[in-house]
Amino acid sequence: MKLHEYQAKELMSQYEVPIPEGRVAYFPYDAWMVAMELGFPVVLKAQVLTGGRGKAGGVKIAKTADEARDIAQELFGKTLVTAQTGPQGVKVRKLLVEKVSSIKRELYFSITIDRTIGKPVVIASKRGGMSIEEVSELYPEDIIKIPIDPAVGFLPYQIRRLKYDLDLVEQEKEISRIVSNLYKLFMDKDCSLLEMNPLVVTDTNHLVALDAKIEIDDNAIFRRKEIAKMRDLTEYDPDELEARFAGLNFIKLDGDIGCMVNGAGLAMATMDVIKFAGGNPANFLDVGGEATPDTIAKGFEIITRDPKVKAIFINIFGGIVRCDKVANGILQALKTVEVKVPIVVRLTGMNKEEGMEMLKNSGLAFSVAQDIKEAAHMITQITKPKKEENQTTKETNKKEK
């Protein structure tokens, strides 16, 4: 779960990490008031859960309160399109208004989990302000990586290394306090990413976290009630949210073939096989281990809401979930949800025969496929633009004439 910048800064501030003075604005007038309080210039930062907002025009500086209000007016309701959001973009609903800091140097600091070694790792660099991927490509020698053994924590010698490598001898006390507190925050709140980019040295030689990003491990939200409350539901796609509450894993894509699959890996492979057959998936949907009539009905409901969907591909490999149960689920679901587009079903695994039999005897028009390549072929035949068919109709017309 991603936190907004202002939420991340609130948390950091609780751990005694210095942040710029600022406040959240929900209306243009709020921005005017906050600007008056803080003094000038101020920076207005769109609070959206996506990276690259600066490049998309979501961060602006105002020199007067009126200008702050006008910029806020323009930013509110604006849709930011970044590499991560896709073409539909995200709406700006909140702004963080902050006093502009005077910057002497920009640094990079983050803590994340290194999957390969299975440990938290601190990543820091003298080159802050640009993306760390860029730094690692252009100046790999300027990246400091310090793995942390969770049993002993962030050790004094590791912090000393940061102090020297980042040229922060003058800010010795500050950097020690900041990084050890951030490590504590990382562990206390089950973070999967905690980042300051940039962490700046100000004109007066103090450290301030100018930008902050925190992501919390979704699997640990159950034990972090205070974090769960911070979830901003307005930032999620409503269909994806609805699916999540129903226990489904749904991601909207822009094709015309709806997919319903059990298991994340098979769901991805199903999208792949559709692409190879010349089709375009409309979504990723993992119905998980429990394909009940309710979850399948919810799946149909969400898939068919998309007017672009021309056909639905159900691909179930019964392992935990038995095929007869899934078939029953599909039939029950079709009683409650009206599906007007053709459905291609591929059911295999535990109790496959019973499941197929149930679908065939239902009297409903399913196309039943034996394996995924056949299913993909069948479904793309439905969704492909019908060139050949038009030709044959023309020919018959001629003959009739």
Binding site: A83, R115, A264, L266
Partner: protein
């Protein structure tokens, strides 16, 4: 021969009295696996269809002498269950549980590395040596004993792959899912090493996913150490960037973790790439027959 699990493997099931634990403990026993005991704190002294249940793993170990533990404990308590198995001397642990907090797995990883434990999972379908022992939640009947070893990140995709391989008349030596979480017990390399040494395994299939660099690392290892034919499919060629596709690990960030980067590394290592998951069985059959002159 197969690897790690055999007809002789003795299994206890932690969380055996839960719905899933019970169902799959019995399904494993039906397959022929020696399920010798179960553990649920507070349910000691009872039994699940004749399988004795104990309060602690320690007690189960003393009374039933197992060498493998299969775990179905819910996410908040699963890391503790793994560590309990380690603490009681079990060396092979299969954890099915999905949704364990990453920081819990950080602790687990540290202990299993120190103790030399083989942990399969978490968030995995388990491991199977066809006709000998099934320790997991996979549908047993799709597997056929044979010469291909399969290592998969995903569960249902492991079934899909094994099914296609069985249908073209080949079979599997041992198959397993390493798990879809960011931190899992074993990586591809661990299993590649064992399959390379196993005389029964004649070819290896890797079923990967976008995200991370485990497939790239596997490629390096294959190049240096594996002499048997290796095949690979990586799921997610059609996945958009920056979106997590179900599994916590399956996400493309920047240029890292893409299907292209994985295929390039694998190709470089001499691995046969199967891009279209509809043709896994067919491609393996043809290649082994025509290129390696297998008598199939």
């Amino acid at each position: 021969m197969a690897i790690v699990v055999y007809k002789t493997s003795r299994v206890i099931v932690q969380g055996i009295t839960g719905k899933e634990g019970r169902y799959h403990a019995l399904a494993c026993r039906d397959y022929g696996t020696k399920v010798v005991g179960g553990v649920t704190p507070g349910k000691g002294g009872s039994d699940v269809d004749g399988i004795p249940v104990f309060n602690t793993v320690e007690e189960a170990v003393q009374k039933t002498n197992p060498n493998v533990s299969l775990i179905f404990v819910p996410p908040p308590f699963a890391a503790d269950a793994i560590l309990e198995a380690v603490g009681s001397g079990i060396k092979i642990i299969v954890c099915i549980t999905e949704g364990i907090p990453v920081l819990d797995m950080v602790k687990v990883k540290r202990v299993i590395e120190k103790e030399g434990i083989i942990l399969i999972g978490p968030n995995c379908p388990g491991i199977i040596t066809p006709d000998a022992s099934k320790i997991g939640i996979m549908p047993g009947h799709i597997f056929k004993r044979g010469s291909i070893g399969i290592i998969s990140r995903s569960g249902t995709l492991l079934y899909e792959t094994a099914d296609q391989i069985s249908k073209v008349g080949l079979g599997q030596s041992t198959c397993l899912g390493i798990g879809g979480d960011p931190i899992v017990g074993t990586d591809y390399i661990f299993w590649l090493e064992r399959f390379e040494q196993d005389p029964e395994t004649e070819a290896i299939m890797i079923v990967g996913e976008i995200g991370g660099d485990a497939e790239e690392k596997a490629a390096e290892y294959i190049k240096a150490h594996v002499t048997k034919p290796v095949f690979a499919f990586v799921a997610g060629a059609s996945a958009p960037k920056g979106r997590r596709m179900g599994h916590a690990g399956a996400i493309i960030m920047g240029k890292k973790g893409t299907v292209e980067s994985k295929y390039n590394a694998l190709k470089e290592a001499g691995v046969h790439i199967i891009e279209n998951p509809g043709y896994i069985g067919e491609t393996i059959y043809k290649t082994l027959k025509e290129k390696y002159h297998f008598s199939i």
